[in-house]
């Protein structure tokens, strides 16, 4: 079985086909940036994109992701290491405290901005509702999403 992760074809060992996508990414493919938080799709720490749509990877059997395009936080920056505008905005707004939820937050925010290049507070509340942050960095996440939206509008 194969996965296409961040543009690279990766094989999954046969003993791992009962796992969910998050486990395979972390334990088989060495991509530990997507985090485990709840196991029931309630916290958003494990959000990745599958064929362009954000999903809680803890809820996706890896077999369902076979031959699909998977984007994880590790694939967000450019190959030369240049950060994505969202990552840069996260730094500029000094968003992370413990940092654990932030990969999922950024991936969810990416999905939002791909749909809506100029989101309002209400749009952000709705789109980010599935992403918990126990440290309470929500106010900064809101600002960072808006900053990134501006940057991305300028670029495009």
């Amino acid at each position: 079985m194969k996965l296409r992760v961040n543009g690279v074809e990766r094989g999954v060992d046969s003993g791992w086909q009962n796992e969910n996508l998050l486990v395979v990414l972390r334990e088989q493919l060495g991509l530990a940036g997507s985090r485990y938080g709840c196991g029931i799709g309630q916290c958003g720490a494990c959000v990745v994109h599958v064929d362009g749509a954000p999903v809680a990877s803890c809820m996706v059997p890896v077999t369902q992701a076979a031959d699909k395009d998977i984007l994880t936080i590790e694939g967000l920056a450019a190959p030369d290491g240049a950060l994505h505008p969202l990552q840069q905005a996260w730094i500029d707004e000094n968003v992370p405290q413990c940092g654990y939820c932030q990969s999922g937050q950024i991936m969810q925010a990416l999905a939002l901005l791909q749909q809506n290049s100029d989101p309002t507070d209400a749009d952000i509340d709705l789109a980010m509702n599935g992403n918990l942050c126990r440290c309470g960095t929500y106010d900064r996440i809101r600002k960072a999403i808006k900053n990134a939206a501006l940057t991305m509008q300028e670029v495009s």
């Binding site: 940036g33 590790e74 992370p96 940092g99 309470g136 929500y138």
Partner: protein, 725 residues
């Protein structure tokens, strides 16, 4: 462990040979049980820092990171003393083999206790290097002026640290009787370049790119997966165990039974889930677990009917019988930490028969000692590699997930990773105990306080089970539990004043939670004061300021300023909208006042906090950016405590198991915030990690009172509560 000389110790650690190093070594030893409480002091500091021959400054970070990003603040202190850019400092989190034991990271004490020793070490290094520069140029040291990354002369000669430091080890030690060098950090007159600046966490890049910074991220060759079955309470024992079918799970490696410990090791995480799912345990409990039992234990009125409570914290001409203006009982719920990262640990026995543990913990040296006790290995043969924690909040001080990983790894002699599930995290919670408060206040004809009587019952906090060895506990409990009494003394003075409390053994596990008992106690006090003001037809802020007259100027300043700040915003029109205030003092040195705007919406049947303003004064603001972040976090937690969170206890089980049945604030629950950090350059910095939560919940409750007339006597507050007013 043999006591090494300080020089010997540094060489033994593999700390880069060569370069100039400042050392304040610890001379104390850690005790085997209980938390690691070796805090730095004037004579024995905590700073290991070094200028490498290439001129780069590196330091061992003495604190465990869990979101407070405190080492960045300590790096700012080093940079200030050495005239460097904070961002150029290389920080290394030491393993337990790299440095002698350092106090556990807790109580928001890091800046208070570590900033000064760190400054002393860095300043001593600076002055020694100035001496070297002076002798190189045959000038008196005073002729060498500070310059970025080194020194300069009036004539314009420059010497960088790299010019001064070579491959020969230069050790700078300061003895207690030597005069201290000038500490730039604590010089209020100095125009600072690093301290006082909102420096971002030095490792922020890894946090936005998904770097492998948490325990479960560490790649360990040949790792297999394990977990243990979690009882609803740690003192439960196995009555009956059925493990049939476990060995048939595909990928099963081993079932491990050791007394009341039952765990499995498998080749993949899903196999672990399947195997754990097949294990059936009937637990024998020492106490029945149910909410009714908790309610009975904390029934403060029943206890007061029997006489005085166990601990009298304040007693000033107390009068039992007087005309009470306020006589209210407040009940505060049990809460859990619910940090975003469920705990994880990896353990392996390496080729040298050394036990290695990767874990996120507030107390790596305690983990090392307890793992040694648990396995019978000598402490020299246990190494803990502390990793960043995905949140702590007081919940990560114990040998918990590490125990699982260690026992399973020892049993299979293979590296084992244990990732607790979210349900494990809730089941094993060392929760903030529920509490019940009886608050009575009397005034004279002008409304001035005459009598104050606060009695409350809660569970043990610092002296909760398993925090100390069983034999020590009865002795320790003869004295007051400093977690239970935290925040109990009101800032408001009255001629007749009594505060008494009792702490009891809950049927569930308890422990340290952000601010300990201060948040519940101050919720009760600030609600009562607000109600008293309204009863007298007075503005609550004016009334509190009047009762604080002549005392606590820093608190009055916060309260005055937060009102000014809040009043800049017009309340949105409509019914059910109002603003409330509360204030408080945490640990005698942290002052905070908060306003909350709420909307109690009859249409959506919801309570929403629209905006919170906060003015906080914790002394010198070393990193205003991080202080602000901590306030934001405390405001989010205030919403959770006031309106959402309730740790549910079922019949002989913990009912709260995940975020679907223990809701915590989400994006839409987060109010707009306006925060002011009061900087006091002359006052040493205190911690901000658990300050604003003392005033946030009562500010919200007081706003709801204004909006609806409903006085919250029980947390969390639901919309339905407000309609029964």
């Amino acid at each position: 462990m043999a006591m090494l000389t300080r020089r010997g110790f540094l060489i033994a650690t593999g700390w880069v040979a060569g370069g100039a190093t400042a050392v304040y070594a610890f001379r104390q030893r850690a005790t085997a049980v209980g938390p690691t409480i070796i805090f730095p002091n004037q004579e024995s500091g905590a700073a290991w820092l070094q200028i490498r021959p290439d001129g780069v400054c590196q330091m061992y970070f003495p604190r465990m990171e869990m979101g407070q990003n405190v080492n960045t603040g300590l790096a700012q202190v080093v940079a200030e003393e050495l005239n460097l850019q904070t961002e150029d400092i290389v920080g290394i989190t030491p393993s337990t083999s790299d440095v002698p034991p350092i106090a556990f990271t807790a109580g928001s004490l890091s800046m208070t206790l570590f900033s000064r020793p760190t400054a002393i070490a860095a300043a001593a290094l600076r002055e020694r290097l100035r001496g070297l520069a002076a002798s190189q140029l045959s000038l008196p040291p005073a002729a060498l002026l500070d310059a970025p990354g080194g020194f300069r002369t009036a004539a314009g000669d420059q010497l960088t640290y790299a010019d001064l430091v070579d491959n020969n080890n230069l050790m700078v030690e300061l003895d207690a009787d030597q005069p201290l060098p000038t500490l730039y950090t604590f010089d209020a007159e100095r125009k600072k370049t690093q301290v006082g600046r909102a420096v971002k966490p030095l490792d922020i890049h890894a946090l936005v790119t998904g770097g492998p910074v948490y325990a479960a991220d560490v790649p360990v060759a040949g790792v297999v997966f394990g977990r243990a079955v979690k009882p609803p309470v740690r003192n439960a024992s196995i009555a009956q165990l059925d493990t049939s079918g476990v060995a048939d799970v595909r990928g099963f490696i081993k079932l491990v039974r050791d007394g009341d410990f039952v765990g499995v090791v498998c080749k993949t995480p899903s196999a672990v889930d399947a195997a754990i799912g097949k294990i059936k345990v009937d637990w024998t409990l020492k106490q029945p677990i149910n909410q009714g039992e908790v309610d009975r234990l904390i029934d403060v009125d029943a206890e007061m009917a029997q006489g005085d409570l166990e601990q009298v914290l304040q007693d000033k001409a107390h009068r039992k019988a007087t005309e009470w203006a306020i006589d209210l009982r407040f009940d505060v719920q049990t809460q859990t930490h619910a940090m975003q990262e469920p705990r994880a640990a990896i353990a392996r026995v390496n080729e040298s028969q050394q036990l290695e543990i990767w874990t996120g913990t507030q107390d790596p040296w305690a983990i090392k000692r307890l793992a040694a006790l648990d396995t019978g290995l000598s402490e020299d043969n246990v190494v803990v590699y502390p990793m960043r924690m995905g949140g702590g909040f007081g919940g990560r001080e114990h040998y918990d997930v590490e125990l699982d990983a260690v026992r399973l790894a020892m049993a299979v002699q293979q590296p084992v990773k244990v990732q607790w599930t979210r349900q494990d995290e809730f089941t094993t919670s060392r929760s903030r105990p529920a509490s019940a408060h009886r608050l009575r206040i009397a005034t004279d004809a002008d409304g001035k306080l005459t009598d104050w009587w606060h009695a409350y019952i809660t569970g043990h906090v610092f002296l909760a089970r398993d925090r100390l060895p069983g034999w020590l506990m009865p002795i320790a409990r003869l004295d007051e539990d400093l977690g239970v009494v935290r925040g109990a003394i009101a800032p408001y003075g009255a001629p007749h004043q009594r505060v008494e409390c009792k702490d009891v053994d809950f049927p569930i596990d308890l422990g340290v939670w952000r601010s300990l008992t201060a948040a519940p106690a101050i919720f009760a006090m600030e609600s009562a004061m607000d109600e008293l003001a309204l009863q007298q037809g007075k503005d609550p802020v004016d009334y509190k300021l009047a009762q604080l007259a002549g005392q606590h100027p820093r608190l009055r300043n916060c309260l005055t300023r937060v009102r000014d700040k809040a009043q800049q915003y017009d309340l949105p029109p409509g019914a059910g909208v109002a603003r409330g205030y509360a204030c408080g003092i945490y640990e005698h040195r942290c002052f905070v006042a908060i306003s909350a705007e709420v909307q109690v919406d009859a249409q959506t049947q919801q309570i929403k906090v629209l905006r919170m303003c906060c003015v906080q004064d914790v002394g010198m603001a070393v990193n205003p950016g991080q202080l602000r972040a901590q306030v934001e976090s405390n405001l989010a937690w205030s919403v959770g405590m006031a309106l959402m969170e309730n740790f549910e206890i079922g019949d002989d089980q913990i009912k709260s198991s995940n975020f679907d049945n223990y809701p915590i604030p989400r994006m839409a629950d987060m109010p707009s915030v306006d925060i002011e950090i009061v900087d006091q350059p002359n006052i040493p910095p205190a911690g901000a990690g658990e300050v604003a939560i003392i005033a946030g919940p009562p500010a919200i409750a007081n706003a709801i009172r204004r909006a609806t007339g409903y006085r919250a006597l029980r947390l969390p507050i639901s919309y339905a509560d407000t309609t029964t007013a």
